[in-house]
Amino acid sequence: MLAVPVLLGVTLITFVLTRVLPGSPIDAIAGPMATPAQRQALLVQYGLNRPLWVQYVAYLGGLAHGDLGSSFVTSHPVASDLAAFFPATMELTTWAIIVAVLVGVPLGVWGAVRQGSWIDHLTRVLSVAGVGLPVFWVSLVLIYLCFYRWHLVPPPMGRLSPEITPPPSVTGFLVIDTALAGDWRAFSDAVRQLILPVAVLAFAAVAPLARMTRTSMLDVLGSAHTRATRALGLPPRSVVWTYAFRNAILPVLTMLAIVYGFLLGGSVLVETLFAWPGMGRYAFNAISGNDYPAVQGFILYATGVYLAIFVAVDVVSALLDPRIET
């Protein structure tokens, strides 16, 4: 129930912040040859001549009806814009998170179980690299090697190569939609377009997950109850997975939620370098054009995503840990 005041607060803050930004959307709309009279007419047309609080109330009124307003720049409804750009980010991020979990969590567990082993060191090196190497640099190197030199992946031109016809949209996930449509050429293109950006994002996401898993596992493995299970002569596999891992997973889950939410906000750099039509680029364009409704819509969306993920994490935590009461 906290969600409502949070969302209201966010709308108020973004509303004020966008208006405080230097520059006006009218500059982008009107162009350099507009006369003052034309600029005034545009102000009236977009309702920007009204007092701020009137504009804010009108905006909230629209929100109550699910109307996010229309972009000043393109005049498309913001809600439909978000719906168009969201699947691209959702698909990219989801695959990246899946890969990051599949790689990061086992690495973290292994590092904790075999402390000081080569795999532990490897995990540490990978984590440092994942955090330390700039995403744009990794992207450029991967594009140069995997595309330009070795031709392993198709040209980085977005979700599908230009000559591929997109499948009818069902889930918004092109990998799933192309499979549902039975269009295997498009399926293969969609998967191959995903490989590099997913690898880059997963690489960055592995680090926090692996480190969190390792720390949390070390805590649990050193605890009294784990010692007890060992003393009882349980097989190591069951000590690690049944008893230790399940206890260690909660902080990892929270970290996962933070990383997932962060990535769903769109990674401007990755989306820019791979020409990925996602939320990050949408937000970037909206901010540079002072497109108030688009910026507000995006931030509302990002807030919603965070809230939804944290609710989901709370529910899963409660399932995993009976001590947590909802």
Partner: protein, 536 residues
């Protein structure tokens, strides 16, 4: 632990298996590859309403390729063998013929016969009338430009018969054809547009912002537009002229310049727009790529606000003009893709002369002028550069070091694009870089009106009564001799007064694959016409 290891191994094996199972390189069927041109562009289009379009380059280029207007630029072969769309000579576009009558007070336009819109509807005098009625009702940019050429309102546009339209010109002038030869005068299909005119949106602006279907009249139609992803041109089957050579043009939005460069070098796109200047220099040596370089008459200058100290003192402006590192900027910042601007009227525009330009980089002379201006110990100024433009930032750096040798301390203030434009519009900037102004009408007084007439737009607040009077007197005039003399006089005054610091005219650069031909420059608007292009 065995499980963990097994899991990892399985994962790695599965991933590789998946990748290797995917069929390699499934690029489009070779048969139609030569019929499709793929262009990597830096950004999306925005607002396609021809009479009130957004001023971003790809919106305007699209309008230029999918719409047609009555008067167009004439293709002429230059002395060097290159064909260009001359900015000074006009032919009929949709018009079969046109002529001024009544001493230049009337422009009679006869349409070609059997013209059609892209949905097959007839394009006749009624469509022209509809277009101009809407344009004047809407009263946006194009209406202002029409009035500037003394076509004052809707009553000035009269249907004589199905193929003849009369334009009344209240005061004969030389601006008419140049102001009409552009996207704002795109003829619209009343059958398609009128149903979208509502009480809330009387000019169908909302619809035309993102729709063109059925109302296109140019060589291409806009076949599809996925915002943020791509937009696609297809041949217009009803176009009156020679059909576009290439059937489809796909514009992919690839925001990162290094990705666009890689795509061009690998041959996955035919044209890459807006590359980094240094990359373009490097491409000059790439055998698989052609770098087309065209000189422009785009005007790039440093503005000094003549209403704020110390720039209100002409001696200070002159001193800075003697301290600016012109050659360094052209060679290091513009990597040679520019030439010196020597006058407010750029080279390539009628009446241009460089006989009055005498500034070069001479710190001693600058110091002496500063002393005469009352600053014997130098002074400090703040320079505003655009944070989103590499050349603007480069200029700021070289300017700072060069002006320091003349005793002027420069503080660099960076502004984001939107904030910069806003401040520029308010005439608030004290010392700034104007990266490029292009006058679409290649008429010196049209150009001077926008840049130096103090009651118009003049972003530098420069005011000189003689200049103002000469512009007002000659802008609406057909006396070419008087215009020539007046333009020379204005050029001399503006240069002597150091109204601006005259920096450069940048080159227009287009990098294409070797197999792409038919790149024709239109020096009036600098927009590429894809319908001339060929792919071997």
């Amino acid at each position: 632990m065995r499980f963990v290891r097994a899991g990892l191994v399985c994962g790695v094996v599965l991933t590789f298996a998946l990748i290797s199972l995917l069929p390699l390189s499934s690029l489009g069927a070779a048969s139609d590859a030569n019929q499709t041109l793929v262009v990597a562009v830096s950004r999306d289009m925005q607002n396609l309403d021809p009479t009130n379009a957004s001023s971003d380059p790809f919106t305007l280029e699209t309008l230029t390729n999918i719409y047609a207007w009555l008067i167009d630029f004439k293709l002429v072969k230059q002395a060097d063998g290159e064909t260009i769309g001359s900015p000074n000579e006009f032919v009929g576009g949709l018009a079969q013929s046109f002529q001024f009558t009544d001493g230049g007070r009337k422009l009679m336009v006869t349409l070609r016969s059997n013209l059609k819109f892209s949905d097959g509807d007839p394009l006749d005098a009624n469509a022209v009338k509809f277009t101009y009625d809407r344009l004047f009702d809407q009263n946006a940019t194009t209406a202002a430009l029409s009035r500037m050429a003394k076509i004052m309102n809707k009553d000035s546009v009269k249907v004589i018969d199905a193929r003849t339209v009369e334009f009344d010109i209240s005061d004969p002038n030389t601006l008419v054809l140049g102001n009409m030869a552009q996207y704002g005068h795109s003829i619209l299909n009343p059958n398609v547009v009128r149903p979208h005119m509502t009480a809330a949106d009387p000019y169908a602006h909302q619809w035309l912002q993102s729709n063109t279907k059925g109302t296109e009249s140019g060589p291409y139609v806009l076949a599809s537009w996925q915002p943020g992803v791509e937009f696609v041109f297809a041949r217009n089957p009803y176009y009156w002229g020679p059909p576009a050579r290439i059937a489809r043009v796909v514009f992919r939005i690839v925001p990162d310049p290094s990705t666009r460069l890689t795509l061009l070098k690998s041959g996955d796109v035919d044209i890459a727009r807006d590359l980094a200047p240094l990359d373009e220099v490097e491409l000059l040596h790439d055998a698989s790529v052609t770098v087309h370089r065209f000189p422009t008459r785009i005007t790039s200058y440093l503005g000094m606000n003549a209403k704020t100290a110390p720039f209100d003192n002409p001696k200070v402006r002159q001193a800075i003009s003697w301290a600016v590192p012109y050659n360094t900027i052209i060679h290091n910042v513009m990597v040679g893709f520019a030439r010196q601007l020597t006058s407010p009227v750029p080279a390539g525009m009628p009446t241009h002369t460089d006989q009055y330009f005498h500034y070069r980089t001479d710190p001693a002379k600058a110091k002496q002028l500063l002393a005469e201006a009352g600053y014997p110990n130098g002074l400090g100024v703040t320079f505003t550069s655009r944070a989103d433009l590499a050349e603007s930032q480069g200029i700021a750096v070289w300017l700072k070091s060069a002006l320091a040798t003349a005793g002027i301390t420069v503080t660099i203030d960076e502004m984001q694009g939107a904030a910069f434009t806003a401040a520029l519009q308010r005439h608030d900037l004290a010392f700034f870089h104007q990266p490029g102004w292009n006058s679409i009408n290649n008429d010196p007084f049209y150009h001077l009106y926008w840049l130096l007439q103090s009651d118009c737009c003049d972003y530098t607040n420069y005011h000189n009564a003689t200049v103002d009077e000469l512009i007002t007197k000659n802008i609406i005039s057909t006396d070419l001799k008087a215009r020539d003399a007046a333009s020379h006089q204005i050029q001399q005054i503006a240069i002597d007064d150091a109204a601006w610091i005259f920096l450069y005219q940048p080159d227009l650069v287009l990098a294409t694959g070797k197999n792409i031909g038919g790149v024709i420059l239109y020096p009036a608007d600098y927009r590429f016409r894809y319908y001339y292009m060929t792919k071997e």
